[in-house]
């Protein structure tokens, strides 16, 4: 059995996808990237061996910020190309705008007729990334799903600081003033959604479907909010977190 393996080494989380020769998804899993992406890559190699996935005629493609650390990969491809491929595969749309909110960066990729037409990346600052949400949730001693639940019931608070560090102190001072957790949570989600939507709106979304990938795909509230700000139905896939890894596996399939 020949396998196509995609390894997406992100800044916080490493995702892996295995496809068979018919491009069927056979397996996906994830693990924290940890301090060293080289070590993570080696651990994954052992795991793949144990599962009997690495074989002579399998192909392995790495992507993500740690893509160069996978010494045993047959090819390294950027996360833009892989996300685009993976999301097109998952959503089956020819014209698609992918919004990927990652741990430390946010990408918006516009795909036309199945190929990347344009993209933008925010990786200079944690505003509008998963990291922003994580820090904010922490400051309220919540996890992200609890944050979303509370946000649904809140209203009327806005977080004005773009910068994660300043936003955190803003949250703390709101708590000090006795503002409810619900309202603060509401403001936090609004802040990231507006930021991400603002970036997405630089692209023409008229003739394209919109998909949300990355770890936040699982939170329905985020998807709904994003849909309402963009005035577009934003879709997600249950494999949303694995879009990059699946895309890498598809590249592996191309070179089988």
């Amino acid at each position: 059995m020949r396998h196509c393996v995609g390894i997406d080494i992100g800044s916080t989380c490493t995702k892996l996808a295995v496809l068979d020769e018919d491009k069927e998804i056979k397996e996906v899993f994830l693990r924290p990237t940890g301090w060293s992406s080289k070590e993570t890559a080696e651990l994954i190699k052992d795991q793949l061996k144990d599962k009997g996935i690495i074989a002579e005629n399998s192909k392995i493609v790495s992507t993500g910020y740690g893509r160069a650390s996978v010494a045993y990969a047959d090819k390294a491809v950027t996360e833009i190309t892989c996300h685009a491929k993976g999301a097109s595969y998952l959503h089956g749309a020819k014209n698609l705008t992918v919004i990927d909110i990652g741990g430390q960066d946010t990408k918006i990729i516009q795909i036309k007729d199945g190929v990347v037409q344009d993209f933008m990346m925010n990786d200079k600052c944690s505003a509008g990334t998963g990291r922003f949400l994580e820090v904010m949730a922490n400051s309220l001693t919540l996890d992200i799903s609890e944050l979303c639940e509370l946000a649904k019931q809140g209203s009327n608070v806005s977080i004005s600081s773009m910068c994660t560090v300043f936003a955190e102190s803003e949250v703390i001072s709101l708590m000090g003033k006795g503002e409810s957790k619900e309202n603060i949570a509401h403001g936090i989600i609004d802040s990231i959604i507006n930021r991400v939507a603002g970036q997405a709106q630089r692209f023409n979304l008229d003739e394209s479907e919109v998909a949300l990938t990355g770890g936040l795909y699982q939170f329905d509230y985020i998807r709904e909010k994003l849909s309402s700000v963009l005035k577009k139905d934003v879709s997600v896939s249950k494999y949303g977190h694995y879009a990059g890894a699946i895309g890498a596996a598809l590249v592996a399939h191309d070179i089988l």
Binding site: T78, I80, T81, V115, V116, Q117, F119, M121, K124
Partner: protein, 425 residues
């Protein structure tokens, strides 16, 4: 080397700090240039100059000063070299292209000033660049706000003359620029003690036109799909042209062009044209030793074939009409040529967009990378119309912003890598 240290000490430089720069430069030159394969042999000249960039040319300038010549330091391709050369003066570029100088600039400038300006001011005030020490006078210009204000700060430490560059290109602006050049020539006569005559000015115009033609020949060769020279090497040639003696520069560029033309005939390129994407770079200028973008692009499966910027086509495109016989005619001819330069300081600046589209076609590029230095709002703002026009012309474009630090190198590599993958798809 010991001679250099003596020279730097005599120039009043901070030799100890300057050592830090001397230590990293050779590695950078090795990594960026010497590691390339199958380079044109004629690059040996520029390899030599850059390997001892703070030694060879500074020593020549000091020698010339001993013989009574004056050195004018400039920051912009709008300052007309012709006038200075006509009075037997010497021109040297003074733009700072390294992070090394930025902290010294930040001592007196707001953090959100572009790194080119911060580095230029830092190189002077930190006393860590021989060219900034040697120049007898600096010639600035009223182009962008960051530079205008920086010249006021530099003016407290060094003799500073500022030319009033118009911000529009109507006939009255060209006439104004002509007057400004005439006024500048008086200053140049005063500094050098030499009179500018129509004969002298005619000669200078000719010398600089010859340099433009020689550089244009090298760029012409870059249009070929054979790709006879890397973007890095061509950029180095252009950067050094700002410092070198114009006659020698012409000779070296012609020598390089001869070799490139021969290479094209023999189909001897530096990359495989079938698998390598051709890129035009546009945006803010790249002062020595800023090779960051070229290096990333050319180690990611593409080659830079043209730069639409002042360290690129804007330096040599358009000749000065040589037919003028009176100073008045000559100043007008000079003014007309310089006002063809499409810098983002001007409004409107549609000419730059036309240039980008034209060059993209002439150089047979697969894509354009539009990159500005951080905090340069002029070039940043022009990105949108540039993108629009390129989209309409069906030419792929990637927008970037960067500074002199290395910290964003991997992020740039991802964006550029993705762009090249996109061109290959």
């Amino acid at each position: 080397m010991t001679d250099n240290v003596k020279m730097w000490t005599e120039l009043g430089m901070d030799v100890e700090n300057h050592d830090n720069l001397c230590q990293v430069l050779p590695t950078a030159v090795g990594d960026v240039f010497l590691s390339q394969e199958n380079r044109p042999k004629a690059m040996d000249f520029w390899d030599m100059v850059i390997s001892d960039v703070h030694g060879i040319r500074p020593a020549e300038l000091i020698e010339a000063q001993k013989n009574g010549q004056k050195v004018f330091g400039t920051f912009c391709v709008y300052v007309p070299d012709e006038v200075i050369i006509a009075a037997n003066g010497i021109v040297t570029g003074l733009c700072g292209g390294s992070q090394f100088w930025v902290p010294d600039g930040e001592k007196v400038l707001p953090k959100n000033t572009c790194p080119l300006v911060k580095a230029s001011v830092g190189a002077r005030l930190g006393r860590t660049c021989p060219f900034f020490r040697i120049a007898d006078i600096y010639v600035g210009e009223t182009t962008c706000d960051a530079k205008k204000k920086a010249y006021e700060i530099l003016g407290e430490d060094v003799d500073m003359y500022v030319m009033n560059v118009p911000q529009m290109k109507r006939d009255i602006d060209i006439a104004h620029w002509k007057d400004e050049i005439a006024t500048f020539s008086k200053k140049v006569e005063e500094v050098t003690g030499n009179e500018i005559t129509p004969e002298k000015l005619g000669e200078a115009i000719h010398i600089l036109n010859e340099r433009r033609k020689a550089m244009a020949r090298v760029y012409e060769a870059r249009k070929s799909k054979v790709a006879p020279i890397s973007g890095r090497d061509a950029l180095l040639m252009t950067q050094i042209a700002f410092f070198d003696d114009p006659v020698r520069c012409t000779e070296m560029c012609n020598r390089l062009a001869d070799e490139l033309e021969e290479r094209i005939e023999n189909n001897n390129g530096v990359v495989d044209p079938k698998t390598t994407k051709r890129i035009l770079i546009t945006g803010t200028p790249m002062a020595v030793p800023n090779w960051k973008l070229h290096n990333i692009i050319e180690t990611s499966g593409a080659i830079v074939v043209c730069e639409e910027m002042c360290t690129g086509t804007r330096y040599f495109e358009h000749l000065v009409d040589e037919s003028g016989t009176t100073l008045d005619e000559q100043y007008m001819n000079i003014a007309k040529r310089y006002m063809k330069n499409n810098c983002a300081c001007f409004t409107p600046n549609g000419g730059r967009i036309d240039d980008i589209i034209r060059l993209a076609k002439e150089y047979q590029v697969d894509g354009v990378i539009d990159c500005n230095l951080k905090f340069c709002c002029l070039y940043d703002t022009e990105k949108l119309p540039v993108k629009k026009a390129l989209n309409e012309a069906d030419i792929p474009v990637l927008d970037l912003e960067t500074d002199y630090e290395d910290s964003d190198a991997e992020q740039l590599r991802t964006r550029i890598g993705a762009f090249i993958e996109m061109l290959n798809a």
